[in-house]
């Protein structure tokens, strides 16, 4: 009897109303729109066509497509998808496929049940936006968009006569979401954090930008075109000078004439993680890193990891045990300089350049070597060459076409950015027999006053040189600093601000518009808000959770946490249920006359007449008061008559009514009763 199925409302096959359909169409437009920059153009066009077609159908009242046409269309789209994407299968193509099937679902969106499934798909697609960024902007966009499928689901439950107003409906849904927020917070804080359950086969194609582990000076004429965040650094104590911020990430030690790469030898060294020393309370700076799907992290020279999942390699580089897919945090502390060695084999490897290449450079190096003694002096001479000759720092250098690229750059084009300078200096040093390697990473950063942190972006990416000095060890040398000192002193933004070439691909980027005072202020504030968001909410991981648990529970224990989660959920639920069981109070508002009667009663009570409010009728009140204050009897009679006049005479005209009420109000105010 309780679950008699045949009595449950058969809504499954019910055709949805037009108002519902419009909500779902809007949902689809928004959900697809959120992914516009990773969907191929033809797919967006297909979705737009499907949307328009469905809209036309509902307007014209035409019937849906027959089965054979639907199947044909689905197969054709599938064929097109395979043809356009080939065999590559990344997150982007997966989302494309999802969007396509989702769009085709529109062809048969007709019944209640279709609509429900459609809403579920929409919610999932909207949530997937977070795979490509979890900053505040995305959070606002996604939470706003999620209201739409919810509103669509709500229209499915509406009765036929219900109001179809857009904003009240959305407002109501929004209120429900707001009501759910406290519980969401509880769930989010207590949901057990764990590593990935299995490795995800889908990798993103363009989701992460950043450094790459090879460098081809002269072949890439585009760089510094992303204002995306790479990481943020918070320094304890005195703030460093930007000039000192050389964030090391990768060592490129093999040069084949065009490209610098990591040799197999170097790759092995990078994998060889040495247990650093761990001491949580000793640190100089903390890094909050954006995910980049690689193993490397960033560190200044002479520092080691003191807290976090990262560790150090023998070359003092930060490495993670697995690709970084979520924001990561680690702290670093200075270590005393360690004695460095260079075995003969490595020394040989690090002076290798392709034989018989760059003859002009070779002669030039030989001339310099003849003039000076010692590695340091040689390096100084080379840097002064960069300083004195007309080298030009630009992000749009001419391509280097000849086989002897270093010759061409040093003595011909002389226009380039850090990669060109670092590469040519490294080749020259290697020709001189000094073991040399290319360092890539980031240089500088932008100081955020509000948040007291350094913000390092993709356009801060940099390459420089480390040369081996006998008896001393590795010495960083930055030829770019010699050519364009403002690049390292004030950052690339300042160095290129008047230049059209900065952030070409992001014409509306706030960083590009930072010359406008308000924009810059806003940009820094937004960045700070995002930093706090990342730091407190997104980066709430296993570590922060166990810290929280230890603070609350005394120790970090998953079963206890689970128990607590259950307990808390039950408590919240019971609280809500209790509120519901509590009889709803009769919250009828008093009419103006009733309010005046209350006022009169209170006045009499204050003057010393003892009685319960609402106990006496008006006539009884009049009698009591006249008895108590005989002088006021006439006034009371008049007052009560007037009250009765408003209360019982059936006055329809609101103006007349309010006039009478205000007369009564004045009379009550004028009533002066002496306490006796």
């Amino acid at each position: 009897m309780i679950f008699q199925r045949q009595f449950i409302v058969p809504s499954e096959k019910r055709v949805i109303t037009r108002a519902s359909l419009y909500w779902f169409l809007l949902t689809m437009a928004i959900a697809t729109g959120l992914h516009w920059d990773r969907l191929p153009l033809w797919l967006i066009a297909l979705v737009a066509c499907l949307l328009g077609w469905r809209l036309y159908l509902s307007q014209a009242g035409a019937r849906l497509l027959p089965l054979w046409l639907k199947t044909g269309l689905a197969l054709a789209s599938l064929g097109l998808f395979v043809w356009m994407n080939g065999r590559s299968f990344t997150i982007e193509t997966a989302i494309g496929f999802f969007v396509m099937t989702y769009g085709l679902k529109l062809l048969e969106l007709q019944s209640d049940r279709d609509a429900f499934l459609f809403a579920c798909l929409s919610i999932f697609l909207i949530a997937l936006t977070f795979l490509f960024g979890q900053d505040l902007l995305n959070v606002v966009l996604v939470s706003g968009s999620l209201l739409l499928p919810l509103q669509g689901l709500k229209t499915l439950q509406q009765s036929p006569g219900a109001s179809q107003a857009v904003w009240p409906g959305l407002l109501q849904t929004g209120k429900m979401v707001l009501l759910a927020l406290p519980l969401l917070l509880v769930f989010y804080l207590l949901f057990p954090r764990m590593g990935p359950l299995w490795s995800m086969p889908l990798k993103t194609r363009t989701g992460f930008t950043g450094l790459s582990d090879s460098m081809m000076p002269g072949e890439i004429a585009e760089l510094a075109n992303s204002s995306e965040q790479a990481f943020r650094a918070v320094f304890k104590g005195e703030q460093p000078r930007p000039v000192d911020l050389y964030w090391r990430a990768l060592i490129l030690d093999h040069y084949d004439g065009t490209t610098w790469t990591r040799s197999l030898f170097q790759q092995n060294r990078d994998r060889d993680i040495q247990a650093g020393y761990r001491q949580e309370d000793v640190w100089r700076y903390e890094i909050l890193m954006a995910p980049h799907n690689h193993l490397w992290g960033y560190s200044l020279a002479g520092f080691t990891v003191s807290l976090g999942e990262a560790a150090m390699t023998g070359d003092q580089l930060v490495r993670f045990p697995y690709p970084v897919k979520a924001a990561k945090r680690y702290r670093q502390a200075p270590i005393p300089p360690v004695e460095q060695h260079l075995d003969a084999r490595t020394r040989w490897r690090l002076v290798q350049v392709p034989a018989n290449s760059n003859p002009v450079t070779r002669t030039w190096v030989a001339e310099l070597q003849a003039q000076v003694e010692g590695e340091r002096a040689l390096i100084q001479r080379m840097l002064s060459f960069f300083r004195s000759e007309p080298f030009f720092y630009t992000l749009k250098p001419p391509l280097l076409k000849s086989r002897d690229r270093v010759d061409e750059f040093l003595f011909n084009t002389r226009k380039g950015f850090c990669e060109h300078f670092a590469s040519s200096l490294a080749v020259a040093l290697r020709i001189a027999g000094i073991p040399t390697r290319i360092m890539t990473g980031y240089q500088g950063g932008e100081w955020n006053e509000a948040g007291q942190f350094w913000s390092v972006r993709q356009y801060d990416a940099h390459a420089w040189v480390e040369a081996w000095i006998e008896e001393e060890g590795w010495m960083p040398v930055d030829p770019t600093a010699a050519v364009a000192p403002q690049r390292v002193e004030a950052g690339i933004r300042e160095a290129l601000m008047d230049n059209e070439e900065f952030l070409l691909s992001e014409p509306m980027s706030l960083a590009r518009l930072s010359r406008i005072g308000v924009v810059n202020w806003l940009r820094l504030k937004l960045e700070y808000a995002n930093y706090l968001w990342q730091d407190w909410v997104v980066n709430y991981d296993r570590g922060s959770q166990s810290a929280l648990f230890s603070r609350w529970l005394g120790r970090d224990d998953l079963t206890r946490a689970a128990g607590m989660l259950a307990g808390l959920a039950v408590t919240v639920f019971l609280a809500m249920a209790f509120v519901s069981f509590w009889p709803r109070r009769h919250r009828r508002r008093m009419t103006p006359v009733e309010r005046q009667i209350r006022r009169l009663e209170r006045k009499l009570q204050q003057a010393g007449l003892v009685f319960e409010s609402g106990r006496y009728t008006l006539r009884q009140l009049e009698e009591k008061a006249s008895h108590r204050w005989p002088v006021k009897a006439d006034e009371m009679v008049l007052l009560i008559r007037n009250l009765e006049n408003v209360l019982y005479a059936d006055v329809k005209d609101p103006q007349v009514l309010s006039r009478r009420v205000s007369r009564v109000r004045q009379q009550i105010s004028a009533l002066k009763l002496k306490e006796s």
Partner: protein, 324 residues
């Protein structure tokens, strides 16, 4: 011996009878409302799980948070569905009697004294569900249809009042016994449609013939419009010549008019059939505007011609054999 299925239904029926006893006006409280996730709720839980797993595997805190958000909404939905029913006042307002085989229109009234209630569904059989919103302070009438199959007192039994507001993941419902009761007239059957069956099969052929509306008397009472098939002799030819329309002279016969529909005149026919024939007879007489009376065992309704008289007669037929 009762089959386990029937026994189970009986058990629940008794349990429900104890838990939600019948009442004419019912204000729903926590005792009356059941809440359970729907099938769609199950699908939605799967979606939440998918979001959580995606969040974990891609180490994506915000997807995880989205999963948590919908889990929280789901929990909230349980309370909201319950609150949508609790405190609601519902009352049966009666039903117009109908002939057996037709749809009874059962009228109800819903009232809410706290908060607006949306998407309430009330019904008995799957096809009869009606969806309404009940706004605070206003009495909302609801009419649901119920096919009355049998003559006599119709008691549809418990009704289902349910809601899956707002998102359809959780359903709150209540089985209410609002003492719904309506009278159903016999199925109307006109003997003319059944040819001479009554005469051929029964001994009371003469009586049936006797019970037929008799015509052909001399007591003229007036004119009325002509109906096809009436004897030529009755047509008022003068009137036809004057107005161009056919009119029929009507006569009142002191012996057989007012006409009587007599229970005993239909002897030898099975009871329901008998009542159906009587019902047809009554209706026909009413349509012909012939005054008639009704004779039933223990019931005698004096001749009349009004609508209310017709209903009284039909009601008497409906009530025949039923406990008072």
């Amino acid at each position: 011996m009762v089959s386990p299925r029937a026994g189970w239904a009986q058990f629940w029926g008794r349990w429900l009878e104890r838990r939600i006893p019948g009442a004419r006006i019912k204000q729903l409280s926590h005792r009356d409302v059941f809440v359970f996730p729907t099938g769609r709720g199950g699908v939605f839980i799967a979606l939440i799980a998918l979001l959580l797993i995606t969040g974990i595997n891609y180490e994506n805190a915000m997807i995880l948070a989205t999963g948590c958000l919908f889990a929280a909404l789901f929990v909230l939905h349980i309370v909201q569905a319950y609150r949508n029913l609790a405190g609601l006042e519902i009352q049966f307002r009666g039903a117009e009697p109908v002939f057996a085989g037709e749809d009874l229109g059962l009228a109800f009234q819903l009232k809410s004294d706290g908060g607006d209630r949306y998407g309430l569904e009330l019904g008995r059989l799957p096809s009869s569900f009606v969806r309404v919103d009940v706004l605070e302070g206003s009495a909302t009438p609801v009419r649901i249809l119920y096919r009355a199959l049998q003559r006599g007192r119709c008691r549809p039994g418990r009704l289902l009042l349910t809601t899956a507001w707002p998102f359809g993941w959780v359903r709150a419902w209540s089985w209410l016994d609002l003492m719904v009761e309506a009278w159903v007239y016999p199925r109307r059957e006109d003997y003319t449609l059944r040819g001479g069956r009554a005469q051929a099969e029964s001994d009371g052929g003469d009586q049936v013939a006797q019970a037929l509306p008799a015509a052909g008397s001399d007591d003229y009472i007036g004119l009325r419009p002509y109906r096809p098939g009436e004897p030529m002799s009755r047509i008022a030819w003068k009137k036809l010549a004057q107005s161009g329309n056919k009119w029929v002279r009507e006569f009142a016969d002191p012996d057989i008019a007012p006409d009587w529909v007599d229970f005993d005149a239909y002897g030898g026919i099975a009871l329901e059939e008998r009542l159906s024939l009587m019902c047809g007879h009554v209706c026909r007489l009413h349509e012909q505007r012939t005054p008639f009376g009704l004779l039933m065992p223990g019931v005698r309704l004096e001749p009349g011609i009004s609508e209310s008289h017709l209903h009284q007669c039909l009601l008497a037929l409906a009530r025949y054999g039923a406990a008072p």
